[in-house]
Amino acid sequence: MTVDEVVKVSKLRRRFGRVEVLKGIDLVIHSGEVFGVVGPNGAGKTTLLRILAGLLRPTSGDVEILGYKIPRDADKVRRYVSYLPEDSNLYGRLSGYENLKLFALAYLGTKDVDEAVKLGVAIAGLPPEDLAKRAETYSKGMSRRVAVASTLMVRPRLAILDEPTAGLDVISARYVRETIRRFSKELGTTIIMSSHNMFEVSKVCDRVALIFSGRILAVGRISEILAEVGAEDLEEAFIKLVGGGNE
């Protein structure tokens, strides 16, 4: 693993009972890039991201995050990796501020908390009076903005965002995309985000992996993939790669 490599995955397999969800994934993600994991529902995106976040154990294969082996060093990895699960909610009885403070405390202890929360407030982009309200009163868009902020504000070496815009309206989804793009550059954080939205990925990500039925079909810059497959956009490339069918 080179200094530049934040994630290195080799021959990764994961089974749930008789079902093999990941069937030999090979992947390298470099420092500072926004990397997209793209595929339809059930492709294995969430399982891959959970393994990278240290929450699931691989059935076989090698996974290294920042030079640490997963699952052996999962406890150490969690200090440097911030993860936003798909559809995760805020703590409803806590305010937006308190939700930000909770994750700042979890990652940073009691030092630098105020600075992190300040950054979180900037990332969330919500008025102070809204952040002072209990999160149970938030719309889905507001919740997601605070959740994304809580993931990025702790300046993780690697941020993993699972479907960060799923279920959001156009305006909220656009805000989240722009936030990811902007703060990944400003904070120098490596970001992995999953999506089944090809348009979104092409807007935000430096490189992508197209994943289908537990296998990576293609990985690289979007322009490289399009040229290699002979497609005009990512959606067409994906359809061509899976042979025009569906899972």
């Binding site: 929450l55 699931l56 995760s88």
Partner: protein, 408 residues
């Protein structure tokens, strides 16, 4: 340590804002215990029961120095039953739950030296208050029987020209019962009543078990259902801090529950006392309430520590709650059993029941009400140790993969 602080910070903030749970924990013992006192003491006395007394004899007779009539007997029973709230009628009322029939010839037989008098008592099944009426009537007839027997003995003594004391003939064996505390100190009915109330207080522990068991289930599995668990597990917070922090927060519910249990216990004493202007409060012992408070708190620790391993392996809040219900059932059985027996005096193998921390906690309250504080503290310490041990073991059982991937 800072991990633990983070979990506690979150849990306590959430807990303090969960006003409904706190309200339930506070109100349950405060409402139910005085109600239990009222139910035990007052309600049975207001149930309407009709007693019919049929005097078919209506004669009087003399035996020795005593002149007695069926009217005297009926009058005695009627006055006594009316005093205790019964409705007494003197006709063949078909709706009467108890019928006493004094047949013709009753007084003649009662005052004779050859025959036994027979009264007929009929009761309809179905109410403890009816049983109580029958018991009163039997007691009063026994009293009359005794008075007549004494008159007969005296008369026979005079006939035989010997000195006769009726009790020497009728009760040649006198039994004198002395009450002692378990430590051998003289005791009176006050101590008996204290013990009885102590057993009722031990039963009150059942009320504080429920909130803790359901709270810990919700605290862990509920986070999954509210979709907050996965992100929390992905943070650097250690598994042990997560479990210990949540347990401490749940035990705070225990402190609140323990406090309100003590208040409820006091009300249990006060409610019937207010009704009957009785001075039951003189039986209140601060030490017993201190032990009750500790037992309530530890009962909650025990509940959550036993719940934890099950909850950690429950896929949904429903299954976690059902597991907790089972636990609450066991606790209730133990606490109810403590109402009727001293659990710490059972012989082997039943003595093993004391290994169940709930049994030890109930015994602690009962022993405290008997003034045996060393035993009470021993039982409290044992239960506390078991619960802390189980919490520590549970920190090893938290498997994030299982919690995340199990279906709700």
């Amino acid at each position: 340590m800072s991990d633990l602080y983070v979990v506690l910070w979150k849990e306590i903030k959430e807990l303090l804002r969960d006003r409904r749970t706190i309200l339930m924990v506070v109100l349950t013992p405060i409402l139910t215990l005085p109600l239990m006192g009222i139910a035990l003491v007052y309600l049975p006395s207001i149930q309407e029961v009709t007693v019919a007394i049929l005097d078919e004899d209506r004669v009087s007779a003399t035996v020795g120095d005593l002149t007695i009539s069926s009217h005297d007997i009926v009058d005695l029973i009627e006055r006594y039953l009316v005093l205790y709230g019964y409705i007494v009628v003197k006709d063949g009322n078909s709706s009467a739950q108890v019928v006493l029939r004094i047949p013709a010839g009753f007084i003649a037989n009662l005052t004779s030296y050859e025959y036994q008098a027979s009264a007929v008592l009929v009761k309809r099944l179905g109410s403890p208050r009816v049983d109580q009426a029958v018991s009163y009537i039997e007691g009063l007839l026994n009293y009359v029987s005794r008075v007549v027997s004494e008159a007969k003995v005296k008369a026979l003594g005079r006939l035989a020209n010997i000195t006769v004391r009726p009790e020497a003939v009728l009760s040649p064996i006198a039994v004198r019962t002395y009450l002692l505390t378990p430590s051998g100190m003289p005791a009176g009915t006050a101590e008996e009543l204290k013990l009885y109330l102590g057993r009722v207080l031990a039963l009150s522990l059942a009320f504080v078990t429920t909130p803790a068991a359901t709270y810990i289930a919700d605290s862990l599995v509920g986070e999954k259902e509210r979709r907050t668990l996965e992100k929390l597990l992905s943070t650097p917070i250690s598994r042990s801090s997560l479990i210990v922090g949540k347990s401490i927060a749940a035990s705070l519910i225990g402190l609140v529950g323990g406090g309100s249990s003590v208040i409820g216990g006091l009300l249990l004493y006060i409610a019937p006392a207010l009704m009957y202007s009785a001075d039951i409060l003189k039986f209140v012992s601060p030490e017993v309430f201190a032990v009750l408070f500790c037992s309530s708190y530890i009962s909650i620790l025990v509940s959550l520590s036993i719940s934890l391993p099950v909850v950690l392996r429950s896929p949904s809040i429903r299954s976690a709650s059902l597991s907790s219900t089972l636990l609450i059932g066991v606790a209730s059985v133990v606490y109810i059993a403590s109402l009727f027996m001293n659990l710490d005096e059972l012989k082997m193998p039943l003595a093993l029941v004391l290994a169940i921390p709930y049994a030890s906690l109930a015994s602690a309250v009962v022993r405290a009400s008997l003034g045996e504080y060393l035993k009470a503290v021993t039982y409290l310490t044992y239960s506390l140790a078991i619960s802390l041990l189980l919490i520590l073991l549970s920190t090893k059982l938290l498997d994030p993969e299982r919690m995340i991937t199990s279906k709700t």
